[in-house]
Amino acid sequence: MAPLHSDKREEAWGAQMRAALAGDEAAYRRLLADFGRAIRPAIRGAFSRSRVGDADVEDVVQETLLAIHLKRATWDPAQKVTPWVMAIARHKAIDAMRRRGVRRAEPIEDFEAILAAPEEPDPHQRSDVERLMETLTPRARDIVRSISLEEQSITATATRLGMSEVAVRVALHRALKALAGAWRGSLS
């Protein structure tokens, strides 16, 4: 995918973000994948600069995407998307490096702008999220697995579990919040 000119990207992201917050799941999915491509090189750069190794870059990418998701209310529609996304990525990268024993982690330059070419995820690299899911209740774990790994819709998951759609949505949201807490406390 060719990197978009930053103004065009900003415009597209702003529009997709507004659609996502209004409930457009398809737009949100494309946008999150785009965010992933944009933050991956920055996180990899910060990790290599601090000599952390890039074995778990994808873990930090996913933790950042989760933070972007849970903190999406902190995006102000009057402000740009890019600096907001990069600030969250920087915060999560610093946090992750500290957990890995880096004392002075201030990789400002990697997150100032989207400079490097967007990077697709390595399909072989997996994250800790499945291990962290062990901390969830069995029902919550089932719902997250069903929607992510098994690509089931909310509706199909609700039918299978004999729950209402609203109840599945609430359970999913709570499970994601719990995962963020488990990630923060993890010493991977």
């Binding site: 949100y28 902190t74 600030a87 995820p121 994250s127």
Partner: protein
Amino acid sequence: MNTDDFIAALSADAALKGPSLTRRLAFALALGACVSLALFLGLVGPRHDAAQAMHTVRFDLKFLDTLALIAPAFFLCLRLARPQTTPGALLGWLLAPVALLAVAVAVELATVPQEQWMAKLIGTNVWHCLTLVPLFSLPPLAALILALREGAPSYPGLTGALAGATAAGAAATFYATNCTDDSPLFVATWYPLATGAVMALGALAGRVWLRW
């Protein structure tokens, strides 16, 4: 789990409901201030000559001071609740209440005879000021910290301290209607001390509860 699968789970939770972050914080401040006001009225209430005191400059200046603290502290809090914001030059606005106090103190020193300076500075309500202002600060501080947990501050300690400054400003506004020590010498000595204590508590709360 690979990233595309994980994104599928996140995108199923796309829609964002509820009031905006700014509204949440404004509501928290209003609610906390109401609880604080009820506490104030129940415990001490305004002084008996408040109506006459309102016609004196020294009394009114206290409210100008607290307002000059609340406005920039709350504005900064709103800004710093978002991850991309850095404090930078914005912190300069917090000099407004300090500058106002400094000018008031200078005028007081120029107009009041030197032998009265210490008496005015010590006043009669030091312990009230140092205990009631922090006490009345607790409800708005707790409400603001709770609302800020929806935010994503890159500086949790500083953001908490500013929530503390906002809360102390609200508490001091109520307390100032009770306190009979209106001299800027008293106000500039004890109010900042009480505010500083609440800011330290806010910074601590921020470090504990505003990390994300």
